[in-house]
Symmetry: C3
Subunit: 206 residues, 3 copies
Amino acid sequence: MRFRLTPRETSFYDMFAASAENLVTGSRILTELLGAEPSARGDIADRMRAAEHAGDDATHAIFHQLNSSFVTPFDREDIYSLASALDDVMDAMEAAVDLVVLYQVHDLPKGIEYQIEVLVRAAELTAEAMPRLRTMENLTEYWIEVNRLENQADQVHRKLLAQLFNGSYEAIEVLKLKEIVDSLEEAADAFERVANTIETIVVKES
Amino acid sequence: MRFRLTPRETSFYDMFAASAENLVTGSRILTELLGAEPSARGDIADRMRAAEHAGDDATHAIFHQLNSSFVTPFDREDIYSLASALDDVMDAMEAAVDLVVLYQVHDLPKGIEYQIEVLVRAAELTAEAMPRLRTMENLTEYWIEVNRLENQADQVHRKLLAQLFNGSYEAIEVLKLKEIVDSLEEAADAFERVANTIETIVVKES
Amino acid sequence: MRFRLTPRETSFYDMFAASAENLVTGSRILTELLGAEPSARGDIADRMRAAEHAGDDATHAIFHQLNSSFVTPFDREDIYSLASALDDVMDAMEAAVDLVVLYQVHDLPKGIEYQIEVLVRAAELTAEAMPRLRTMENLTEYWIEVNRLENQADQVHRKLLAQLFNGSYEAIEVLKLKEIVDSLEEAADAFERVANTIETIVVKES
């Protein structure tokens, strides 16, 4: 069947909401990393990987629906961008946890907890905003706040980099830790792309 | 002339097939790196660069055809994505060889041969699949297999990273080798993007 | 208002010209970095940040206009690509200056002045070419020259990398300086993307 006669566009909203909810799950698993003994990190990484797989399934479902729908609730390229950006957030959060285990990092750098805090808040805001896509109402505050959070994440990230390069870490350790804090920064950037795509969608409809 | 009255869309198939064949050439040049004395690497890099230039020409021809064709055999954005992903594979393979020479690496890390093996296999599968784009038949196995290969490449890449960071390499050496194995991993990722784009094209047509 | 009845498409040209002019400003601020005492770099970084903010505003204005215009002077995706590539140039130049300050780099690597020289020239050429978008005339020379400059930038970048890894720098210093010269190389790549997008626009219209 090429064209769906009764387009179930509404499911796009549900799929985006599920994808965003999954980011809340992921960001909370990230938080567990902070207090955990190195021996407990393997289990955290396993659960993070499961969340990432769930995210992949959600993204794949959106792309499949997009490719087989004749009518979509908003521009195809914006649906694609939104799904991709949500997926990028999860990939970056999962990469961070994965690298901590893979590189057998002992101590996480001081200040990384602020990066994670921002990600938890951005995930919650995104999950709360997603159901409002249906009516396109009350979304301005959401994207302003996420942009503010991304600026904050950026400041925290820069402080972490300055700390890593201030001479108190061995070069190998700098390499390992930089990749981890860069992954968390990528997650914050991807949250901003989610918010900017939603802004684009709303502007087009207004 | 703005519109071509007798669109030669068929040439897209030929151009994609040529671009994929060129990746087989590139992946085989990559293999030569494994047994070669450092003194022989310059010549290998020269031939790799020639393959990369041939790839650039192929990509440019596809884009030019795309921009000057009124009718295309499948969605313009998918033609663009497919050509870009094929080009990305070659760029990443060429970058790896180039870095080996540029950084005057002495010993390649143990295990890199498995990364290259996967790339050769993915290139062969991609070149075999490309002519089937015309009929859109028997492509499912291809993309499943390439996705499987990419997972395998990912495992090999992770093992290589763990090895580089286990403390037996000097920091500068880690920096050099990491960039090389990361380039090869990028090539595997780009092969997966090729496969995913082909899946998208087939799903849209079904 | 959904559709603009008297589309002010011309403003796209003005906005692109302004965005390109801003890159000339940015590239000149970059030049100041070369002779400056470390103590003077903070001020240079501040002015670079201001130029980057001006660039962000220009990009945002283009996207907003794009999303609210019914008719555009050329394909929407090309307007999007052009604005994004111009924005990427500025982001990369700003990142380079920022990292010099953040990492408290003492001596910039010998040869970085050639990278910056190429960026200044590419910025000037781009700013000169932009007003010719209106008539689409005399643009071939521009994109050939920018592609030539990008190749030159690439050669300079490779020499800088070889120098960084030749054993005379400490690993931490290599990490810092590599990120800076990579940012400048990204700026050169983004100038090439600007030129390639303009080529695409012209080919489509011919």
